[in-house]
Subunit: 426 residues, 2 copies
């Protein structure tokens, strides 16, 4: 090389070094919030976190000890392994999917680091910059975070209302590449609303996906946490009834053990046509080689022994907490406040009068009432939802739910009085 070191070294400007997509990666409101939640006197309705009292510690300990005590399984658990995932776990998932009305084979399944990594791979494989992704409004914040680095535009669809025509979606996509990458939906007990799509809504969404010739991403994170009524057929099941089989299906199903067993082992899965799963396996190989073998072996043992019992315990605990939160909202909220009544999952979506900005309300709530929630704007891409907020009931106790909602009701009432006392704007 011709040059010699400069006497005054040039410091790198990282902002210049980042690729364009890095600009789409910004710290989230929820994450900034979580720093406050470490303070012990906060009542938090902000997370989306299972109650760790449900974690099957004894079973985990036994499974881990059994796997590591045997040299053959212990070494396999700690060695490199295949990107698609541990076969016995994929076989267990095949059985689970069959109970959800989806007939598939292990080759239709890839193990991911929670469904978050599934969403990340979906974005990586399907979104080119300026493609359009169709989402509900509001939608799951973590999905937006997974998709955003691939620089999509977003357009929205409604589940229960009449939607725009396929041509209208095509026309809107023409502002970008003209391509619609896929539609993303959480059909059961959605994050953040707690709402569930009817069978008719699922069929209409499949119609739209078919007209637009796009995949439909079905995020089933909460489907097992059902408090009442019979399960609805998954979008994937409904699609297979039309098209004849999983390998013909346009639905990519994202499953996870995070809400049913434990989140900290980071085990989820994607179930889809082999044509898609083959590419996802390459994304997994390039992304992190494979999910930890030990974790997959532990999860296989726990799922085999205790999946349904874990689900039943979670349902019983969270149903009582949902009931307590609905009762508290009824008791403490001013009459102009509305909220959803979820049949499962972890969240209630609260709508305040338009004049209340929940991002500002949160600052006050943390300061004066010590109650945390997620402001609604975080779940929209277009600045909507600023008068809404998401409440989580899976982690706080019933006493905390009652006390926290009481404080929140008081704060909302005070804010409404304050606004009513202001001179009307000309």
């Amino acid at each position: 090389m011709e040059t010699s070191p400069m006497t005054k070294p040039q410091t790198l400007d990282w902002q210049q070094a980042f690729a364009g997509r890095a600009g789409n990666m910004q710290a989230s409101e929820i994450r900034e919030l979580l720093k406050v939640l470490a303070q012990p006197d906060i009542i938090s309705f902000a997370g989306g976190i299972p109650d760790p009292a449900l974690f099957p510690l004894d079973l985990m300990q036994r499974a881990s000890a059994d796997i590591l005590a045997d040299p053959a399984s212990g070494r396999a658990a700690l060695q490199y392994s295949v990107s698609e995932g541990y076969l016995p776990l994929r076989e267990w998932i095949v059985g689970y999917m069959a109970r959800r009305g989806v007939s598939c084979a292990p080759d239709n399944i890839v193990i991911t680091a929670g469904s978050q990594q599934g969403l990340e791979f979906i974005g990586k494989l399907l979104i080119s910059a300026d493609d359009t992704v169709l989402v509900t409004a509001p939608t799951y914040l973590g999905a937006l975070q997974a998709f955003d680095p691939y620089e999509p535009r977003y357009d929205s669809f409604a589940l229960e209302a009449d939607n725009r025509t396929p041509q209208s979606y095509r026309d809107a996509a023409a502002a970008g590449t003209g391509r619609i990458a896929f539609a993303y939906v959480v059909p059961e007990f959605a994050n953040p609303t707690g709402l569930t799509a009817t069978i008719e809504a699922r069929r209409r969404l499949l119609d739209l996906a078919e007209e637009l010739r796009i995949p439909l991403v079905e995020d089933a994170a909460y489907e097992a946490i059902r408090f009442e009524g019979d399960p609805l057929p998954s979008c994937q099941q409904l699609d297979i009834e039309r098209c004849g089989g999983i390998d013909q299906s346009r639905v990519i199903y994202c499953g996870t053990f995070s809400k049913t067993i434990v989140p900290g082992l980071r085990i989820g899965w994607l179930c889809a046509s082999r044509a898609f799963i083959g590419k996802i396996v390459l994304a997994k190989q390039a992304g992190d080689l494979h999910s930890p073998t030990l974790n997959q072996m532990i999860m296989h043992r726990i799922a085999t022994k205790a999946h349904d019992a874990q689900v039943a315990a979670a349902v019983a605990l969270y149903r009582d907490r949902r009931d307590a939160m609905l009762a508290a909202l009824e008791r403490y909220m001013p009459s102009c406040v509305g909220w959803t009544r979820p049949g499962g999952g972890m969240f209630i979506w609260v709508t305040l009068p338009d004049a209340i900005d929940t991002a500002r309300l949160l600052v006050e709530s943390l300061a004066s009432e010590r109650v945390a929630f997620v402001p609604g704007g975080a779940f929209f891409k277009d600045g909507a939802g600023r008068n809404c907020l998401r409440l989580n009931y899976s982690l706080p106790s019933i006493a905390e739910i009652d006390e926290g909602v009481a404080r929140l009701g008081r704060l909302v009432a005070a804010e409404l009085s304050r606004q009513a006392a202001l001179p009307r704007r000309a």
Copy 2:
């Protein structure tokens, strides 16, 4: 919606659905190979896999049992946690980096799923389509797989020879966006060559990076597996000596426990300026939320108790195997064959006469000799290296090394005789 379901459903064309970058994600030669390796009579020099006899099963079992037996640590191990990683593990890594001449803080460290995920995040944050990435030729195949989906061009630099001028690199990059994203290097016992960059070569590379105003990615996967001689200063240490501190440094250091402790827990790290690590934490959050908490807690305990003993055991075992492989190459290879003499790591790079195509040789080797290796072409982006091959010595026994190299030498000799007997082409 206006449309009704069509009677004959339209099946999705997945090739149409994939984003442009998916075209860059193709099954690798190594991966296809690995399917053959499951056959028990194959002698494999193809992997890059540690010997599982080294895995500290007892310590793993005890660590896992201790963590899960205590309800507080057990629940923490199985719950969601922060994206940057488990603080005590990051603190241990700070101590390790200090021994490598790098003074840093936990905020300079993020835990990744092996160094593979570190490379994936580096690609995601730094490569825009048609940017140029500078690599050695040959270079680590897994790095190419991590970067490829972000659609870079590649240009190459040499470590020991004189390089082109910075202006020449800039001119070549003008064929794409004109931007050079970063340079990537494995300074110690590189995969696939086993070669180590001298201090002077590291300084020249830092000069080039400084001239080009780009980050330098230092993949230190094999640095601890040193058979002889004193450690060389890392590129990051040399850079910090110039620029004054980690937060001013342009070097992104990729570390891993995969070669020193175990690969199957999937724990590695990145160490860099806070300006970069802050963004990587967002990539981690969007990508998989966090690495499994249990795995990080186990790795922290093993690293604290047994890191140096594990390294010493690996060094002793692999050094003997390297010696055996070098002796076998000397004994069995025709005199026109050359190879590297690595001072550590897991690989020897063999150069055959130009006329031998090692991809074709592999087919014959698997069929007639039952010996596996990786053809050299896999480690180049430009079709070079077709007369080279990579041999791994970390997994086969000394007897297998002797027998496998003997068979390979016989095959090469036979191929050379066959070619010599062919009529000379006009």
